[in-house]
Symmetry: C2
Subunit: 485 residues, 2 copies
């Protein structure tokens, strides 16, 4: 194992010094994203977008495996449509961007840029659904949405972002609840397996739920600075949207019935979650399953002689071998940079495995593999390269999740008193597991006093009654509190 | 061969009666798209979107094979950014939708919803490009764009549509021209190979080119009503956008140089092209390579007895066999509809091959395959099903292109006189190949008098000088004229 720090190419602010600045430095310098000309709108650069493409491909596959299909609904939602569901419009209207001019003329009715598509999609479902035979409807959409945000940060909170939003209709309440929980489980598994980001999950409090939902379930991950990030949500919408948008079906007894609906989404925020969960002071550490480049080959030139004769042909052969095995490999054959510069450059970009090959290695028919996370070095004979590289990527993927899970566990604290709650929240933060009376006023006071909100209320196992950490009234189960992004 | 017309489930207006209504009937009844609440904005329903997904997957693969990578740029373009390139803003500003209110407040500067992204992307390139080593830049984006259209039609012309737009920068003029032509070739091959839509190609006239381009190249296809449809464009933008947006690089002689740029795009309009090129009075005929369902299995119930015992198990086995062979197959096991209804239903949706299996077929260990285009029937022994179905799909794909190419050729006429030009354009239309003086005023007069515009000016082979069909002045090469969508 070799723990020496590689020479730093582009300095990033250390995490311990300013976590928020570290995040921005890494996102910009690794070229994941850049600021666009409109406040709060980011440009997702090719390296960042390639991560999104990896997320999309696998998430799309998993969503389709549940029977859902993709479609595309309009960007523009007429004001009157958004207003049909009262809670919904109250929640989203303040965040809307409005188109008021089109084709050189003032529009009769302003059009909202979709902040989410319940209003649009439910309006169409009202046209399409007539009978119980039309149910369930299981449609997903990949698109951009806009929410006018005051404080923005690339990936974590942007005015425009990319996401998928699933919208389903069901003949029974039970089925809608099952779908809501199924998608939450799918999200949890996806985020843990692909991004190596461990999460806690469960329903939200009334105050924190989606505008118009009966119940919102979420997955929440703990970031390196002890703040929680909501990584995905799944809403049981009950019959509220069905009623508001006039969706009805004839059930098997020929009764007109309003169907039960759900919606669920994950966004480009997931990229920010992976950056914050795994990165270190040298830059990103990307989980192999979503890394645009899994193995970067850095050829070491001979002291004397010509690398294009002695090294590069072998490096190209290795590139071809790795790619043929389905490993996303890249050969850094720039002749303008020294290996040390390249090491730092690819560490910044979080490439999971670096493959070094120099004159000695060619001679010995071996290569050097270096893990990004702990910089452990191994010498691998060329004939065994593919299985060795695959095994290393698999271990790294698993180890990132283990490390992050350990961090989450170490920063999850059961608190019994409000003094402890306040002092922890003022210091190291993290998830605080605390009894809570379910009163929104108490929740609001906790937020005022500590900036912490209820993230989720895990439902596993038997109820554990207690007394509210703040007011002492009864609590059916403890909730997870945290300051949140 | 069996040419009998299947019973019609949902009548569509015959093409010969009203081509335009036939198109709308088919698009709506096959559930490719539906009208949304905002004029000109369509909903792409799951069956139509699955075609787009097939187009996207293969087009994305081909674009990436040229070295381009994907990224995502903001939806909103500040007014001042759009205005930097004068011709560009003049062309697009009248078609823009403007956001004037965000987060409850009037914006200081209106934001255009992107009608195309040159202004945004070139602004970012000005930040990113410094040296010849940064070139070429080869970036593609998949996104939605908005152009405020007066007359709209699903897929063919909609206020919002989906597309890919590539934007490249090059160190030399030659390289930019090569990229422009390379992408045109890629589009031509894609449209012919995947959608079986034959095209003519070449540069546009000055009047018809993209606002701000040096040269616009296009591929144009002839629809069943003798009108042309622009299916893809590739623009050589020269240095005009580079200058307008302040992009410069240090070349190998350390001289500050403005790079040469290109842009190129294809849209959801391609789906409309495929519908109009291949469809018939029974509905869609989808080219197998983009068909969401390539083979639909319709089980025929026994007169007596239980189909779930005698037929369905075999049908399910066939479904699994086809899917395992990579064929997109679907089993229509609805117990509420007769086979005749199902035949018409799947013909409407354009499924290339129908597989019938009834009691006699099970007994004989065979199935019946029926082609959608000519309804030719073949009896295939079950052990040979996969190769037979694959071969049928391949033939059908090829035959659709041949048939469409024959139609285009039969409707392409070399015209020598303006009288002939006018009478053909008033009657059967089609492509008219005519000498033209290159004068925009003459072109405008031809449009006024015949509704025909210059579609492309093919450059293959030696120049063929002639005299302008309208004014008699010299013409270097004939141009393709047509009325256009």
């Amino acid at each position: 194992m070799n723990n020496e720090k590689a020479p730093t190419l582009k300095d990033v602010t250390p995490r311990s010094q300013d976590y928020s600045q570290w995040y921005l430095d890494v996102v910009l310098k690794a070229e994941l994203a850049d600021y666009g000309p409109v406040k709060g709108c980011m440009v997702i650069r090719p390296y960042g977008y390639a991560i999104w493409e990896a997320i999309q491909a696998e998430l799309d596959r998993r969503i389709k495996a549940t029977g859902a299909v993709n479609a595309y609904f309009p960007l523009f939602i007429p004001k009157s449509f958004l207003e049909k569901e009262k809670e919904h419009v109250e929640g989203f209207s303040p965040e809307c961007a409005w188109v008021t001019i089109g084709g050189g003329e003032q529009l009769e009715e302003p059009l909202a840029i979709r902040p989410t598509s319940e209003a649009m999609i439910c309006s169409m479902y009202a046209k399409w659904v007539n009978s119980w035979r039309d149910l369930p409807v299981l449609i997903n959409q990949w698109c951009n949405v806009v929410r006018w945000e005051k404080v923005t940060r690339p990936f974590l909170r942007t005015t425009e972002f990319l996401w998928q939003e699933g919208h389903t209709l069901h003949a029974t309440e039970t089925e809608a609840e099952e779908r809501t929980v199924m998608m939450l489980d799918l999200y949890r598994a996806f985020v843990e397996e692909m991004l190596a980001v461990p999460v806690v999950h469960g329903p939200k409090s009334e105050r924190e739920k989606f505008a118009g939902a009966k119940t919102t379930y979420a997955i929440e991950a703990l970031m390196g600075d002890g703040k929680a990030l909501q990584a995905g949500t799944s809403h049981n919408l009950g019959q509220q949207f069905g009623k508001a948008y006039g969706i009805e079906f004839l059930d098997q007894n020929m009764q007109r019935t309003v169907p039960w609906s759900t919606s669920w989404g994950m966004t480009t925020r997931l990229i920010g979650a992976a950056v914050m969960t795994h990165g270190d002071d040298s830059g990103l550490i990307l989980p192999p399953r979503v890394a645009p480049i899994q193995v970067v080959i850095v050829p070491i030139p001979p002291r004397k002689g010509d690398w294009s004769v002695e090294i590069l042909p072998k490096a190209r052969e290795i590139l071809a071998t790795l790619r043929a095995a389905g490993i996303r490999a890249h050969l850094d054959d720039r002749d303008t940079q020294q290996p040390g510069y390249k090491y730092a450059d690819w560490e910044m970009r979080g490439v999971p495995v670096r493959l070094e090959i120099g004159p000695k290695d060619v001679e010995k028919q071996q290569v050097v593999l270096v893990r990004r996370d702990n910089r452990a070095k191994s010498f691998v004979p060329m004939p065994g390269l593919v299985p060795a590289a695959s095994a290393l990527l698999t271990s790294l993927q698993g180890d990132l999740l283990l490390r992050a899970r350990r961090f989450t566990e170490e920063n999850t604290t059961r608190v019994a008193s409000y003094d402890e709650f306040k002092s922890r929240m003022a210091d190291k933060r993290g998830f605080l597991v605390a009894d809570w009376c379910r009163d929104g006023a108490c929740e609001a006071a906790i937020k005022d006093e500590t900036k912490a909100t209820v993230r989720v209320i895990p439902q596993e196992g038997e109820a554990v009654p207690g007394t509210c950490v703040r007011c002492g009234r009864p609590s059916p189960r403890p909730a997870y509190f945290a300051q949140a992004y």
